[in-house]
Amino acid sequence: MKYLLIICALCWNWTGTAIAAPEKSEVMKLLEGRHWKIDAVAFQSLGDDTDSVLIKIAEDTAIINYLRFRALEALSLFPSEKTGVFLEQTADKSFAALARRGFEALKNGFSKTEPERVKKLAERLLHHRNAQVRISAARAVRSLDAARFESFLKAEKDSWVRKEAQK
């Protein structure tokens, strides 16, 4: 019985370690750097619930934009339903710079597993008032629905937007 209790205690401790969320400061540290590039291995080694910490950072208006933007980008590494919903809301309701990054994170994280979901959001954003959001959406649509991309090119009034979308 004594040994059983010890084993249970150890298992409880290990289980606790496995599900522990990383400290916000740990996540923030991986978002720093002037010439930042996402380090997938580093983020994925932070443990469970990293996505929740990233969402909190991304939605915190008191945090400087570059950290919020990078948190969005890092969320593409955690393509859960919670992440998907958050990124869709971000793309739909945020200011243009945040909206574009929310969409791009959804595209990067979900294109392989849920292409229809990405396409649905992209189609909405083809009508966005910000040109860069339209370009980003159009580039995604190009690989998902060639006919829809062609119709976008015909409808888009800015020639430079059409040109950028085709890059």
Binding site: E26, M28, K29, L30, E32, G33, R34, H35, W36, K37, D39, A42, S45, L46, T61, A62, I63, I64, N65, Y66, L67, F69, R70, E73, F95, A97, R100, R101, E104, A131, Q132, I135, S136, D158, W160, E164, K167
Partner: protein, 383 residues
């Protein structure tokens, strides 16, 4: 002894393979023909000369003279189709090839002109305290290219130094006046390090296609934007934001160094405004530090310490922050400014800014070492 830029090794190998292939092709087609380049002087205060090249042994070769009062030069090689280009060698008047790995000192695997780059590469002398623009005849061998140009500064040894800066702003979220506080921070940083910045009035570029651009200088839109830069200043393009995979970068220079004295796609730096804001309120201190940092790259300064704590710059008096100082309780080695306090985190050219909490507590990156200052004071674009 500092370790050279290891992060470039993979790129170096790839570039070398490409360039050797290109060199091989040149050998096959070369006979005794000479290139069609002609010498000419371009406009602007910095004299720029195109060097006549001839083809010898498969390499494009040329030479130039540095006068007895030569201060510095930047030797640039161009490939119009944005293909790979580089120098094979650059020998000083004593016959020392400063791009050879067996030379001491050497810029081998450090200068873009040695590593190779797409469309444009260069060699700056001096890029550290170990080099000087020795008087006499310098000779080079280059791989296939369209032209080689020399920007040469001569005159008295620099004591007081002025660098002209030309800011630009794109997009509609912010106006020229919104940059004033950041430009003031940048000016103060350089002034505290013995360099006067003469900052021209900010030019607004209203064409909406330039609001957000790629950080790749060979991109057609980025190239069209940066090519608008003037030839007698360091051009700072404050863009509303980056596009694509560059979206979350604070800023980037066209090279280490970038081009000087010539209007082209590598004649400036990009700095994103959106990422430096809380909502739409710009963080002037951070933006000014980023501008100072990117300008340092454009003029030839490397990061004093790279993120992993194993790669350092080529300047001997800058503090290094080795990975042994990483004190996180995780397996990731990434040297934060906080971990490197007293080990270079205060330097303008440290790889990352202080964290938000440290910045709020007043931490700044405003120092340059004596030898870093020397590189800037001797810069061809400085006066």
């Amino acid at each position: 002894m500092k370790i050279k830029l290891n992060f470039c090794r993979t790129a170096f190998i790839l570039q070398t393979v490409t360039l050797l292939l290109a060199g091989g092709c040149s050998k096959k087609e070369s006979t005794s023909s000479s290139s069609s380049s002609t010498s000419s002087l371009t406009s602007g205060s910095l004299p720029v000369t195109e060097i006549t090249q001839s083809i010898e042994g498969g390499y494009y070769t040329g030479s130039f003279a540095v006068p007895s009062d030569g201060v510095s030069f930047i030797l640039s090689v161009f490939k119009d189709n944005n293909g790979s280009t580089a120098f094979y060698s650059l020998s000083d008047p004593d016959g020392t090839d400063i791009l050879s790995s067996s030379s001491t000192p050497t810029l081998s695997r450090t200068a873009s002109g040695s590593l190779g780059a797409y469309g444009y590469a260069n060699v700056l002398v001096p890029q550290s305290q170990s080099f000087s623009a020795k008087a006499g005849t310098w000779t080079f061998k280059a791989y296939s290219n369209d032209r080689v140009k020399l920007a040469l500064r001569s005159g008295t040894t620099p004591t007081s130094t002025t660098i002209v800066v030309q800011p630009y702003i794109t997009g509609t979220t912010w106006a020229a006046g919104d940059l004033n506080a950041a430009l003031s921070v940048m000016s103060s940083i350089y002034s505290a390090n013995g360099i006067t910045l003469s900052i021209n009035s900010t030019i607004t570029i209203s064409d909406s296609q330039y609001a957000a651009v790629s950080g790749t200088f060979t991109d057609t839109t980025t190239s069209a934007l940066v090519s608008q830069g003037v030839t007698d200043a360091v051009n700072l393009f404050f863009i509303e934001g980056y596009t694509g995979s560059w979206s979350n970068v604070l800023g980037n220079a066209a090279g280490i160094p970038g081009s000087m004295g010539l209007a082209n796609a590598w004649n400036g730096v990009l700095i994103s405004l959106t990422v430096h804001a809380y909502g739409t309120t710009l963080d002037a201190q951070l933006l000014g530090e980023t501008a100072a940092h990117e300008m340092g790259h454009q003029l030839g300064l490397f990061h004093t310490t790279e993120s992993g704590g194993t790669v350092f710059d080529i300047i001997s008096d800058t503090a290094e922050c080795p990975k042994s100082l990483d004190n996180d309780n995780n397996s990731q080695i990434q040297m934060s400014a906080e971990e490197c306090e007293g080990y270079g985190a205060e330097n303008v050219m440290f790889w990352t800014a202080w964290s938000s909490s440290s910045r709020s507590a007043g931490k700044k990156q405003e120092t340059l070492s004596s030898y870093q200052q020397k590189v800037l004071k001797y810069s061809p674009i400085a006066k």
